[in-house]
Subunit: 205 residues, 2 copies
Amino acid sequence: METVEKECGALGGLFQAIVNDMKCSYPVWEDFSAKATKLHSQLRATVLAAVAFLDAFQKVADMATNTRGATRDIGSALTRMCMRHRSIEAKLRHFTNALMESLVTPLQDRIEDWKKTANQLDKDHAKEYKRSRHEIKKKSSDTLKLQKKARKGRGDLQPQLDSAMQDVNDMYLLMEETEKQAVRRALVEERGASAPSSASCSPWW
Amino acid sequence: METVEKECGALGGLFQAIVNDMKCSYPVWEDFSAKATKLHSQLRATVLAAVAFLDAFQKVADMATNTRGATRDIGSALTRMCMRHRSIEAKLRHFTNALMESLVTPLQDRIEDWKKTANQLDKDHAKEYKRSRHEIKKKSSDTLKLQKKARKGRGDLQPQLDSAMQDVNDMYLLMEETEKQAVRRALVEERGASAPSSASCSPWW
């Protein structure tokens, strides 16, 4: 019975550690989201600067095409180069939009979800843990009283005592199972909160 | 003789048109240089934002590596991704530097050179053209006087007249040659002022 009790305590502590880890992760995620937002706005400004640069570049190419100095070939080479650069500009624009639409926006939504879920997990666990402990304590003290009475010669109480002790044991085992499930749920949630980042980070770079 | 005179006028006009084209090109080049400078400063800011973004990204990866939720695999995947992005950041940084060092700075130097050269060509040509025209005019009017005298019966002036007319003809031919060379120099200079742009634009994108 003592082993089961220790086990329950360890599981409860593990659950708490995981939930704390999750709670500590929000500032990290929020910092990441803020830096991504900043990068996004910088990239937008860069796209605008690239557009202006390529327009000026095209004017140089047009000039080379149109002047008399036999520079038509240079002009068309510059125009081709300019068009190639415009396709890179289009990719940059696409990437910039994806950064916001596929990373920052969904991430911010999820951070809120994660916060809610972790809080709920924590709350549910604390309630359940407290309730179980309380019930076990009560049942245990009842059992101890029964034990004392039985020792004082009330042999007729033995079947009742056996049943009560069995109950306490069952309650411990049930609590252990509940704690295991709480830890599993917390671990799954924590893993789930890391996985989407790899999913949403990959397509846009 | 009249054809040669027309030819000289046409060549002079062509020279002037080329020089004017070159003078009109400076605002276009300066605009290009300004836009490139603007793009450069935007890219610098973007590199800084990318560095901050990747640092935040690495923190997310570290978090995934270190938490208990069996997310070590996700953490190492994120770390790999982050490292890949850092190599892109390094390329961006390289490109940003090249944009300034290999494009904007040399271009600005060259614009100054082009201005000086075009002005010098224009000045030299105007001086030479004026001088030639003046000399031809003087020689022509002398020849006309000789012609009048010869018509009034001074047959002994004929050899002198022939020589003078030959001189005028030679002077016209010389002027035509000078003009041709001036046009060639202007065309070469104009072509030269377009060529470096294709040379310096290519390596950095």
